[in-house]
């Protein structure tokens, strides 16, 4: 094992900063998004501390408003959206396809630097004094009334959007043109299908948020009447444009997570994924239907009730492909040989939490019920079940699953399982009480609240501190494992998939010779057992 791999082949700083290797770019993304994850997490923790009591004691209104804006923007635009695609997708897509790199390696590096540039704008907006509009930038508050650094923040998101667009483009071309011989569309790992569907959403949706933020900037900077009725604009136009991107963005966050789950479950059940084609096509169905449901964020906004009816109906339809996936993952376990390693714990946790998140989504799609719980903690709980219970669980599961491939080392299994449990318990304690708070009517984005809501808020804050520990542990033991972990070997899980046929960590050119694929995906029946138990 003295051969050079993608990490050891050159130690110079320049070789990292100017690298065209998708694996190195993925690692740089990993460091950047981890920073933003903990930054957004700190903001959340401060908010939860403030909400321990009904009065304002930790922070005052102005600071609180900036905290939830910072939390939302960093988590959505700088962690969840790039998260799985830019780190795991970047690292794995060429490996899974049997390719030496993405189709456009220079474009990939450009994406990374656009992300960094956007992130610097966002950070400077935060350091200069913050933004208080919420991550949703609703007009005319953001375009006329707010006295904070809205334009700097919007420029940051605008630039980062192009990072997404170029990554999406790169993934689509790579999937079409760079598949190894024999790797037909229906032999692709579902991780690839999920990223392929996600890339289309990114490509079609992201330009709309870019233009929308540009329009907010024009109204703010030059008083062009677009969204502010005082200038002759229409505030609901902003919401239509914003959610035309930001609802599909939810699927940008969850589809890659579903891709991760579809890899982990067959490996740790030693069985082919149940209903491969249904799972693949449901990713595409979600990508298409996801574009037609944005108006469900606007049922009570003053939108016509007939528009509400149409958006409600379409929102129910988008639930069906998600349900199909859940049933297929569960059915995969049937008659499998199940290993409860850390990635599998995260994956099973994902199924449970995503199911609750999805079913509460059904409640929100029901017009009459949404009228009551809209903009309350019920919504907060619902989308955190999808984004945190879903995407972050899958992201952590994926990081553990492919850590041996990325780092060449095994993570400590005991600590892995322990932190997975802590995350699961802390998550539920944080967010389940928020469903009840929401139905009681507690509005979101308030630092003070009526005293009868205190007990549930205390529970939620207690959960958040447990969740924080659950997130810190992997940071510590994964870094530890890079230096002291057991060497992994090419395929520690005896998993299928081309990424496991090369050494760990892989060489810069991924494969000595381009592999030829002769078997279907997830052909686990003939695979040996998992040696590390």
């Amino acid at each position: 094992m003295n051969e050079l791999n993608y990490i050891t082949n050159d130690y110079s700083v320049k070789s990292w900063l100017l690298t065209k290797d998708h694996k190195r770019i993925a690692l740089m993304y990993l460091i950047a998004i981890t920073f933003f994850f903990f930054l957004g997490g700190m903001a959340a923790l401060l908010m939860r501390l403030e909400l321990l009591t009904p009065q304002a004691d930790v922070v005052q209104a102005e600071t609180y408003n900036k905290l939830f804006t910072l939390h939302g923007i960093t988590m959505v635009f700088f962690f969840l959206i790039p998260g799985i695609p830019a780190v795991l997708g970047n690292f794995l897509l060429p490996l899974m396809l049997g390719a030496r790199d993405l189709a456009f390696p220079r474009l990939n590096l450009t994406s990374f630097y656009l992300y960094v540039a956007g992130a610097l704008f966002a950070l400077s907006a935060a350091i200069l004094g913050g933004v208080d509009t919420g991550w949703t930038f609703y007009t005319p508050y953001s375009s006329t009334y707010s006295n904070t650094h809205v334009i700097t923040m919007a420029v940051g998101i605008f630039i980062t959007g192009f990072s997404s667009i170029l990554t999406g483009l790169n993934f689509i071309v790579t999937t079409h043109k760079m598949r190894a011989p024999g790797l037909t569309w229906f032999r692709l790992p579902l991780f690839v299908w999920a990223h392929y569907a996600t890339s289309f959403i990114i490509l079609l949706g992201t330009p709309v948020i870019a233009i929308t933020l540009l329009l907010v900037g024009l109204e703010r900077g030059f008083h062009m009447g677009i969204f502010d009725p005082a200038l002759g604009g229409d505030p609901l136009l902003f919401q239509h444009l914003f959610w035309f991107y930001s609802h599909p963005a939810v699927y940008i966050m969850i589809l890659p997570a579903m891709g991760v789950i579809s890899e982990v479950i067959p490996c740790f059940s030693r069985k082919r994924l149940f209903g491969y084609r249904f799972v693949a096509f449901s990713s595409m169905a979600i990508a298409v239907l996801g574009f037609l449901v944005w108006g469900h964020h606007m049922f009570i906004s003053g939108q016509s009730i007939y528009a509400g009816l149409v958006f409600s109906f379409l929102s129910f339809l988008v639930a069906i492909p998600s349900a199909i996936k859940v049933f297929n993952w569960t059915a995969t376990l049937y008659k499998g040989r199940i290993y409860l390693q850390t990635p599998m714990l995260y994956a099973l946790g994902f199924i449970g939490l995503f199911t609750i998140g999805g079913l509460t989504g059904i409640m929100l799609a029901a017009l009459g019920l949404d009228a009551h719980v809209h903009d309350t903690y019920f919504i907060i709980a619902h989308f955190h079940y999808i984004m945190v219970g879903g995407t972050i669980m899958a992201y952590l599961g994926g990081i553990h699953f492919w850590w041996p491939k990325i780092s060449g080392r095994l993570y400590p299994e005991f600590w892995g399982k322990l932190s997975a449990m802590i995350v699961f318990i802390g998550f539920n304690l944080t967010f389940f009480p928020q469903f009840i708070l929401g139905y009681l009517g507690m509005p979101r984005r308030m630092h003070v609240y009526p005293p009868e809501f205190q007990v549930l808020n205390v529970l939620s804050t207690a959960g958040a501190s447990i969740l924080g520990v659950g997130y810190l542990l992997p940071l510590i033991y994964l870094i530890w494992s890079v230096f002291y972990g057991r060497k992994a070997g090419p395929n520690p899980w005896n998993a299928t998939g081309l990424e496991w046929t090369t050494t760990s960590p892989p060489p810069t050119s991924n494969f000595e010779t381009i592999p030829v694929v002769t078997e279907e995906a997830y052909d686990y029946t003939s695979r040996p057992e998992i040696p590390y138990v």
Partner: protein, 321 residues
């Protein structure tokens, strides 16, 4: 400490309808969540790699099964869609005999005008058992009028009226929240809805009750219609053009409210609050057929509360010939 609510008050006719829908969906959610969770636990134990279970005949696709678990959720969501739509339709269909109260939201307070002229800030007194229609507008950013005990919520927009109605079923005091983030003191844009028996309400209307200085009705009240009358006929002298006999430069407003009128350049518009407001602030946007665009704008000269009074007055001309 341990005496805290887990379920909100049911204080309007909508509350039982929304809660029944919730109850149904809770059953659905509990059923599927438990089904999935128990299956996962069961499989994880039974087919644990160390267990000696019968694993013969495992399959990795099954078309009838796929169709079943597509069709069942589809059927359920269609039921939920229709149910939710029905409840929402009731929430948005305002009974014709409702008592109309005007609400103006601004950073960071609620200003309420009762038709009889009482004004309140951050407090709304309403009678139990009578449909109340809220006509709402914002002076600045988007706000949201939410009363959890009534299960109602409606955004309040600048530049445009939105409506919400309810019928309270239980006397008491209930939270009023602004549920749309509206700037620094958003969290303090809260208020109280006070539901009274019709007798107490009548007493309050006549100035007999003043629970707090913020909400005490002013004595010597002018009703909205009377206030509008003064604005229309004296202060702004609208009557000089909008003569009641129709001989003025502008159309007569007698009996106009609620009617459909033909526009210059084709098309029709129903005369409602929104159209009247637009015609005062941007008179040339929609000209009634046969008239010329000669009216000046009153943008900047009228407060939202003045426009409300004019609206009430013009609406009161509905019954006239």
């Amino acid at each position: 400490m341990w005496n805290f609510p887990l379920f909100p008050d049911q204080a309007s006719t909508f509350a039982p309808a929304v809660d029944s829908l919730l109850a149904f969906l809770l059953v659905v959610t509990a059923f599927f969540s438990l089904l999935i969770a128990l299956l996962i636990l069961f499989f994880a134990i039974k087919y644990h790699h160390k267990s000696v279970a019968d694993r013969r005949g495992a399959v990795d696709s099954h078309l009838p099964l796929e169709l079943v678990w597509t069709a069942i959720p589809l059927a359920i969501v269609i039921v939920v869609f229709l149910w939710g739509a029905r409840v929402f339709y009731q929430m948005k269909t305002i009974p014709s005999h409702a008592l109309e109260i005007f609400v103006v939201g601004k950073q960071w307070m609620w200003k309420i005008q009762h038709p009889e002229g009482q004004r309140e800030i951050n407090t709304l007194h309403v009678p139990m058992g009578r449909p109340i229609e809220l006509t709402m507008i914002s002076e600045d950013v988007i706000h949201d009028f939410a009363v959890p005990a009534f299960r109602i919520k409606q955004d309040v927009l600048p530049g445009r009226y939105t409506k919400q109605w309810f019928q309270a079923t239980k006397t008491g005091e209930y939270h009023l929240f602004c549920n749309q983030y509206c700037g620094t003191l958003h969290a303090q844009m809260i208020g109280t809805i006070i539901v009274m028996t019709p007798v107490d309400y009548a007493h309050w209307l006549s100035g007999g009750d003043s629970e707090s200085t913020m909400s005490s009705p002013v004595t010597g009240l002018t009703s909205l219609v009377m206030g509008g009358n003064t604005l229309f006929n004296k202060e702004f002298n609208c009557i000089s053009c909008h003569k009641h006999d129709g001989t003025g430069q502008g159309p007569s407003l007698q009996g106009l409210f609620g009617r459909k009128v033909e526009l210059e350049g084709g098309g029709f518009v129903t005369v409602d609050e929104g159209y009247i407001r637009e015609s005062i602030l941007q008179p040339n946007a929609k000209i009634v057929k046969g008239y010329k665009p000669v009216m000046p704008t009153y943008q900047g000269q009228l407060q939202e509360t003045d426009i409300t009074q004019l609206l009430a007055y013009i609406e009161s001309l509905k019954g006239s010939p």
